[in-house]
Amino acid sequence: MSVIEKFQEVSANRHQYAKDWKEQTGGKVTGWLCTYSPVELIYAAGMLPVRILGTHEVQDITDRYLFPTVCPFSRDALAQGLKGRYDYLDGLTMTRTCSHVQGTFDNWRNYVPVPFIHYTWFPCHRESPRAIPCLREELLELKQAIENFTGKTVSDEDLDKAIELYNTNRKLMRQVYEFRKSDDPPITGAEAMEMVVASQLMDVVEHNKLLEELVAELPNKKLDRDTGLRLMMVGSEMDDIVFVRMLEELGCTVVIDEHCTGSRYFWDDIVPQEDRLAAIAGRYVTRWPCPAVSSEFNDRSDRIIQHAKNWDAQGVLLYQQKFCDPHEFDIPMLQKMFKEHDIPTLVLEFDVTIPFGQFRTRIEAFLEIAEIEVF
């Protein structure tokens, strides 16, 4: 089985994977709801941090909890809890980010029993010098809460080890992304997404091993297809592999992305320092921002355009979860920015499931703009 297939398998059987992990390690599993959750801290406490994601199935059980104008991802995620698919969770954590996911967390907290629940308040004024010291204290609270729950103290050594492991994980994934800069990338966007999704579900040690294999085999790997248009995907949460496959079948390759099941999740390292919690806090305050947290547009857009240039993106798919206002704020500004750089954009709005027929037409038309040269 190829490395990518292993990633696929984990993500296809994520619940079984977590249950087996509990079996084998006797450890506890903590679900997290947003990429501002400090996974290294959870891992340092001997717990497996797993991201709670949706399944893109039509569902009708969340409307009595969340109003339909809450983003589909947040509703889809809550549906998983309500359906009991995460019944093995020992813990659930969330970091203050956006009001939609907050709704998922609050309803989960109230209607889906989980032994350990912790909400990490996050200082969203990331430009303020006051933010990092504040978050450091919040992380200390989280650490103590976890220690009380597990009965095990989290030592500096534990933290160092976890920080080291996750920094390695980030470094390796960045290396994989490096390969996508080549004229014929050895890995598709769907495959890259499988990798990142798996990194949010797997034991980091195991994921790192697989990544090393992948990094080793990519130099002599080729895709049995033309690259087509070099596409960048920018937007809100996105783990709809089926969509990305459809997208790439239409004659393009996603060579780079900016979303939280992609580069936005893993791009920034933790810079080690004596005060471990301050080091972690520093990473999360200054990391590649999600618009739900950052109010500084340029902070995000500057990084995005750099990505687009470094990976030579010829087109950009700007997409958003329906009703995701933080991204709805940024999209018009991003359209303007890309226009100034002569990079065409296509905007799509995602629901729990997507209308393939309509999306197909829009994407093909977008690709035709770049490709029809039969005049």
Binding site: E57, V58, D60, I61, T62, D63, R64, P68, D351, V352, T353, I354, P355, F356, G357, Q358
Partner: protein
Amino acid sequence: MITAGIDMGAQVVKVVVLNDGQVLARSMVSTGFEPLEAAQKALDEAIKNAGISRDDIKSIVATGAGRKAVTFADKALTEVTANAKGTTYLLPSVRTIVDIGAEEARGISCDAEGKVLDFAKNDKCAAGAGAFVESMARALELKVPEMIELSLKSTKEAPINATCAVFAESEVVSLIHAKVEKADIAHAIHDAIASRVSSMVRRIPVEKDVALIGGVANNAAIVDVMKKHLEVDIVVPENPQFVSALGAALSAAS
């Protein structure tokens, strides 16, 4: 005492004439754009069927969207109350009523006396039920009964998510062009409505027994998928489209 209930629906006017709880006659007339005339016509028809005279009717209650147009009625009642009265009269054990009409759907929770405890209606963007089935049958070049029959034979899931009935239509069109089996499309259409309606109904406590009423209740495929979505058995009274009119007639008697 003889009473009459008039249900001014979006598409059809329904009348029930009642004598001490016994249905003497029913009638149905297309509403058209002259609701008052339609109501009059429907009532006359019912009176004829019942073999009584206008003066025998002691009291008339109107319900339904166009109830206010029935100037000759003694009283007007909203569908919600009428539904509850009518349903619990026919099926006393019912505590949850799902009413699916041409454009709108409703969920009502009531007690044994038919008193409304709570109710929910579809959100603005989730409207469209019976009329949606009809236009989709046309897109499939089927008659509604044929589509219902096919739907029950479906073997594969073909999800249509769009809350908006109009977007759902274009998803159906895509499915048609993607060569999906007609049976599966037919099923997907009913499934989409059931999903929309049950997510709305879940906002009120869904307690047994659950009844499905309204014109669409005659659609076996809808009943079938609604059972799956709400995970309960569903009872359908006789003449489900007359339940509101019956409820109105009953309240006219009291």
